[in-house]
Symmetry: C2
Subunit: 184 residues, 2 copies
DNA sequence: GTCTATACCCGGATAGAC
DNA sequence: GTCTATCCGGGTATAGAC
C-alpha cells in the first residue's frame, strides 16, 4: 500500500491552485495570530501584500476560504491522532492526549473547525470518516462509546480554550479521570 | 433558613431597574429567536418599540446586556440542575438529563453563556459556585471527576447544537454510555 | 426616558481598467 | 492576477433637544 504515499501537506492538496493554497496559508496565519474576529478579506489581503478585491479571483467569497481552513484543521488533527495510534495502538489516553495537544496548539483554528455544522458537501470526500476512525478503532467499533469519548475530549478542550475552568486549575486530573472511566 | 426565600426570578433580581429587566428579557427573546448574530442594539430596540440610542440610558454598552444574559443562563441552568437533584438525589443521569434538556431548549442562550470566559467580576457573587455545586455533590466532592463529567455533558450538548454529529444520529446511547462510565 | 441626527468605523463584495 | 474606485449595508455609540 505504500505506493499510495500520503503527502504531509500543510494545506489540502489538489483541490486548490498553488496561489489559492498560499492564500489559505496566509488565512491560517492571520487566524491563529489574531483570532477569528480579525480574519477579514482586507487583513488577509494585507498579509499577502495585495488588495482585498484580488482575493475574489481565487475564491468566490470568504466562506470558501473558511471551508479550506476547516478542512485543514480536520486533516491535521486526524494526522495527529493517526500518529498517536501508530505509536501506542489501542490506547485511548494516547489518543486524547494527541487530540488535546493539537487543539491547544491551534485554538482559533480548532474552534473554527468545531463551532459550526460541517460543510460536508464542500469537504474532501472521506475526511470526516478519517478524522473519526482512530477513536472508533480504540472503542472497538462501539459508536456510542466513541461519541461519548469525543464529547468528553472536545468538552475538555473547548472549555479550556474558552477559559471556563477556574483560574490556573490543573486539568490533568480531570483528563485522567475521564479517560480512565471511558477507558476502552 | 427559609427566611431567605429565593425568588424564581425570570431575570436577575435587584441588580437591575425594572426597565433594565424588560430590556434583558427582550434581548433574550431576540437572541433565542434569531441567534447571536441578530442581537444588535438596533434589533433589541426594535423589539422594545424604541430607538437604539435610548438603550444607552439603561446600559453603558452592549456587553453589559450580554453579561446579564449570561447571568440569566447560569441561574436558570443551576435551577434546572437543583430541581433534578431534589427529585433524584445522587443521580448523575438525572443531572445530565436536566442539563441537556435545558441547553437544547435554549441553544443560543446556552452558547452565549459558555463560549467565552466568564465575566466573573460582573456576575452575582456565588453564582458560578452555585451552578457547579449539584454536579460536585453527585461526584462526592471529587473535583476532577466533576470537571470530567461537566466536559462530557458540555461536549455532548455543544456538538449537538453545532450540528456536528452525523445527520439524525440517535445520541441517547452515547449519553448513556458516558454517564454510566463516569457513573458516580 | 425617549427622540432625531449623526459620526464613525468596519465588513463583504462588484465593476472595469491595466 | 492585480489594481483603483466604489457601493452598500451594518454595527456601536454620542450629542443635544424635548
Amino acid at each position: 500500500m505504500d505506493c499510495v504515499r500520503r503527502r504531509a501537506s500543510s494545506v489540502a492538496d489538489d483541490r486548490l491552485t498553488p496561489r489559492a493554497r498560499e492564500i489559505v496559508e496566509a488565512a491560517r496565519a492571520v487566524l491563529e495570530e489574531s483570532g477569528p474576529g480579525s480574519l477579514t478579506m482586507r487583513s488577509l489581503a494585507d498579509r499577502l501584500g495585495i488588495k482585498a478585491p484580488s482575493l475574489y479571483k481565487h475564491f468566490p467569497d470568504k466562506s470558501a476560504v473558511e471551508v479550506e481552513l476547516i478542512a485543514l484543521m480536520l486533516t491535521e488533527s486526524a494526522e495527529a491522532c493517526e500518529a498517536a495510534e501508530a505509536a501506542t495502538p489501542g490506547s485511548l489516553a494516547a489518543l486524547t492526549t494527541a487530540y488535546r495537544d493539537y487543539a491547544l496548539a491551534h485554538p482559533h483554528l480548532y474552534r473554527l473547525g468545531t463551532e459550526r455544522p460541517l460543510p460536508r458537501h464542500a469537504l474532501p470526500p472521506g475526511l470526516e470518516d478519517r478524522a473519526a476512525a482512530p477513536l472508533l478503532r480504540v472503542c472497538d467499533g462501539d459508536g456510542d462509546l466513541a461519541r461519548a469519548a469525543w464529547a468528553f475530549a472536545h468538552g475538555m478542550v473547548i472549555l479550556e480554550i474558552n477559559g471556563r475552568f477556574p483560574e490556573g486549575a490543573d486539568l490533568t486530573g480531570a483528563w485522567k479521570k475521564g479517560t480512565e472511566a471511558l477507558h476502552s
